[in-house]
């Protein structure tokens, strides 16, 4: 469906600074936690979006990550575990001009909040979701999460966890998400650019952020974030570009009979997969999402999918406008008197 409501979130000229987005509350995260960098990048990129501070709302669930709104000098709501998407939907529906951000963790979004997460994706409100994936429950002190690798030994799984982890990118795609991306807590520039792209996308934007919990799950993403290993273990997605990676940009990815293979770029790039983030059809995006599950394949970082579908709030606004046009602005007196009435004198 298409909407007649063209306007997005009203924007002005950027005048604010990073400082304007900082509250007087000291962050309560462990020293060294990846959350600090995500907070810093968010504060840094906010001024560039050109939205007045009062029109920004951060909504979170419960978890270490979900403390985030307290540190952003905007409107904020630290809600209950897993339910941030529902409250954010209400905020956005009631006032589509607000810029709404959901902050969530892997437990918050994918364990208790899994259902709201997938339904938010299919509704496609113009809301941005930042999922701090640290593959652990931080706040409750270290139980395995839905993104923890199978066999992980934690407080609640002393002999190893039994479940196959979720792949958040794949889940978002299958739920119909229109913007799906991944970034890294430590790649500050990339993270900022992705947050900005998410904001620019009209529709639900999902960012999975690999985040280090140095207390309960230290190093889980080091292969993808540490200088020495990052280039060989990640592939940065660029629209229209072939999938090339490696310290020397010397490796490429081909697809043969639905099976990916790493080849040497010097052998030619014609057979390499070329990224198409705007494809409506999710076959490629799905393949890329699952690539990170395959042994020895690099993890894609960047935008998997970005397509334009009409937002829920715009369709709703259209329906209201159409109803008003057809039937006229609601007349309470007439409504109360609708149907068969009789008069007693």
């Amino acid at each position: 469906m298409k909407s007649k409501r063209a306007s997005g979130i009203p924007r002005g000229v950027p005048t604010l600074t990073q400082k304007d987005f900082t509250t007087d509350q000291d962050p309560r995260w462990c020293p060294g936690c990846g959350d600090y960098s995500i907070l810093a990048q968010t504060r840094r990129i906010m001024p560039e979006l050109g939205i007045p501070r009062e029109n920004i709302v951060f909504i979170s669930g419960i978890g270490c990550s979900s403390r985030f709104p307290y540190y952003m000098n905007t409107y904020g709501f630290h809600t209950i575990h897993g339910r941030a998407p529902t409250i954010a939907s209400g905020v956005k529906m009631a006032n589509p001009d607000l810029s709404v951000w959901v902050i969530t963790g892997d437990g918050d979004a994918l364990s208790i909040g899994g259902n709201h997460f997938i339904h938010l994706m299919r509704r496609n409100f113009d809301i941005n979701v930042l999922l701090f994936n640290n593959r652990i429950y931080g706040l409750t002190k270290g139980q395995y999460s839905p993104t923890s690798e199978q066999g992980k030994s934690t407080k609640s799984s002393p002999f190893g966890s039994l479940e196959t982890p979720f792949n958040p990118i794949s889940l978002a795609l299958s739920a119909g998400a229109t913007f799906v991306s991944r970034s890294l807590d430590t790649d500050t520039q990339h993270l900022r650019s992705i947050i900005k792209a998410a904001f620019e996308h009209k529709g639900t934007s999902f960012i999975e952020i690999y985040q280090n919990c140095n207390i309960f799950n230290d190093g889980t993403f080091f292969p993808y974030t540490k200088k020495e290993t990052k280039a060989d273990n990640t592939v940065f997605l660029e629209h229209g570009e072939p999938l090339v990676f490696g310290l020397e940009s010397d490796k490429g990815i081909e697809l043969n009979n639905f099976q990916p293979e790493v080849t040497t770029v010097s052998n030619g790039t014609e057979n390499l997969i070329v990224h198409d983030q705007f494809a409506e059809n999710t076959t490629l995006a799905n393949f890329l999402a699952r690539m990170s599950d395959m042994p020895d394949m690099p993890h894609p970082i960047g935008i998997f999918r970005s397509v334009q579908h009409t937002c829920y709030e715009d369709l709703m606004t259209d329906q209201i406008a159409a109803a008003k046009q057809q039937r006229g602005e609601g007349d309470l007196d007439a409504l109360l008197h609708a149907g068969d009435t009789w008069i007693v004198e």
Binding site: T23, Q25, P52, R53, E54, N55, I56, V57, I59, I62, P69, Y70, N73, T74, Y75, G76, F77, H78, T79, I80, R83, P85, T86, I87, A88, S89, G90, V91, K92, M93, A94, N95, D97, L98, N115, H116, H119, M316, Q319, I320, A322, A323, K324, R327, G328, E329, G330, L332, D333, L335, L336, H337, A338, G339, D340, T341, W342, I343, V344, E345
Partner: protein
Amino acid sequence: MRKQVEQIPAATVLFAGDSGDGSQTIGTQMTETSAMIGNDVATLPDYPAEIKAPAGSLAGVSGFQLHFSSETIHTPGDTCDVLVAMNPAALKVNLSKLKDNGILIVNADNFAQKNLRLAGYADNPLEDGSLEKYQVFPVELTKLNRDALEDTELDLSDKDQCKNFFALGMILWLYNRPMDYTIRWIKTKFALKYPHLIEPNILALRAGNIYCEATDQFATTYEVKPAKFSPGTYRNIAGNTSTVLGLVAAAHQSGLQLVYGSYPITPASDILHGLALYKNFGIVTMQMEDEIAAVGVAIGAAFSGSLGVTGSSGPGLALKSEAINLAMIAELPLVVCNIQRAGPSTGMPTKTEQADLLQMLYGRNGESPLPILAAARPTDCFDTVYEACRIAIKYRTPVIFLSELYIALGAEPWKIPDVADLPKIETEFHTQVDGFEPYLRDPDTLARPWAKPGTPGLEHRIGGLEKSDITGNVSYDPENHEKMVEIRAEKVKKIANEIPPTDIYGAQEGELLILGWGGTFGAIRTVVENRFADGQAIGHVHLRFLNPFPSDLGDVLNRYKTILIPELNTGHLRQLIRSEYLIDAVGLNKIQGQPFHVFELETEIDNYIRN
């Protein structure tokens, strides 16, 4: 030959048949006609389970009882003057409700072997003499109806679908009522989707009417004159519709956008359906993935400056409880509608009960006081839910609105209020930047400022952790916690200021006070009217506010020897009254998924008052 017409003050008719037989439709039509000609009416639809039972089975019987009167009435009647039974199962289920010597109209065509067996009749009751004490009219309804529609192009099964209107035609004749209203309804109802059914249904209706006129079936016909109503414009209205209109009115009068988050559930779904139609009032309805999401969007909308409302029934409310608690500590206006049905668990979803009161009061972790208002009758849903909205907005708190299946589906005449007379709802959004603190309160109401996103300079953060007085920052300070718990309790207590002095019907002091709440109103009032008129020292107080209680309630209760609390539960209000006032209130409790009969109350009263 026109038959003799007898004037009677009131009558009760019960239409019953298979779920597919259209008893609800003709019951509603008979109600509309009776209301339009000026009777007071009260109805009791009695649905089978949500899902179809096998045709002809006892579980599949659907009934619609209508009480219409030339005097003010409050209940659909304990017993019936007329029972229309479309098959043996309908007869079996409902016969006990028919008065001795009452009129029993049965569709004789359906009393064959198979249907008798399905209903568990060994012998045909039309033949074995077991119906002797009634005036039995076996009518070959199926056949007569088919005959009447012979010239139409319908196939047999479509023809049979019209036979409920044949029955209605008979009843309209019996009570000397016009067919116009029904004919008009048929015309509009089928106009869009099934225009070919208009004519046949009208034909069937007329045929039933003529059949009575032409045959000598009924020796007497009856007339029930219009009741005396105070002047005004009236319409007939069911409780759920009344709730819908109350919500629309509150949104309209407060100048707020209504955002209704819901997930379908019997018997609350109608509120979602109803509100969804009023998009031209700017109303947003969101069918969400579950009850938690439904209350979630309402809370988000409230934070954003809308009137957030959510509605469900008992099991859904259980799921919403964690989020309602968040709205409570965040001190956001929110209206939560619980259209109660019979529990526990899935229970009996199409039956009535009042057993969610304690859940609404206490079903949240920690100290979480909330105001609770309950509607007493279909028309009262409008006023009560409107009041719930007003209080939620004024005090910035979630408010629970209780209704119950019996009044949600029941209908009665409603004097349409003048919009100008509706209570004021003042909505104040905070805009002043100087001195703004998210938890700095209005000293009168203890409401905190409603500072909605989009307001420059009021950026702030709220949440479910305990918050510091005034600043709203997270706080684990022991004294602060105690203070905040007290303030939140105090805020709810202050709402007692909104409650007018308790209105006692009947004796203002004396032997017996019947204290009620919710849908028991009609039965209680009927009994007290009768007994008070007989000179007994009996009074009736019906609570709209279950929390807080009216400030004068203790005094009122102390004026009577006995306090009797009839409830469709094991004694929820009674427990609260006993604990609060240390009064040995006694209960009359019925937990059958059915409303009280007037006689049940009468019998009980005799234990406390002897003349």
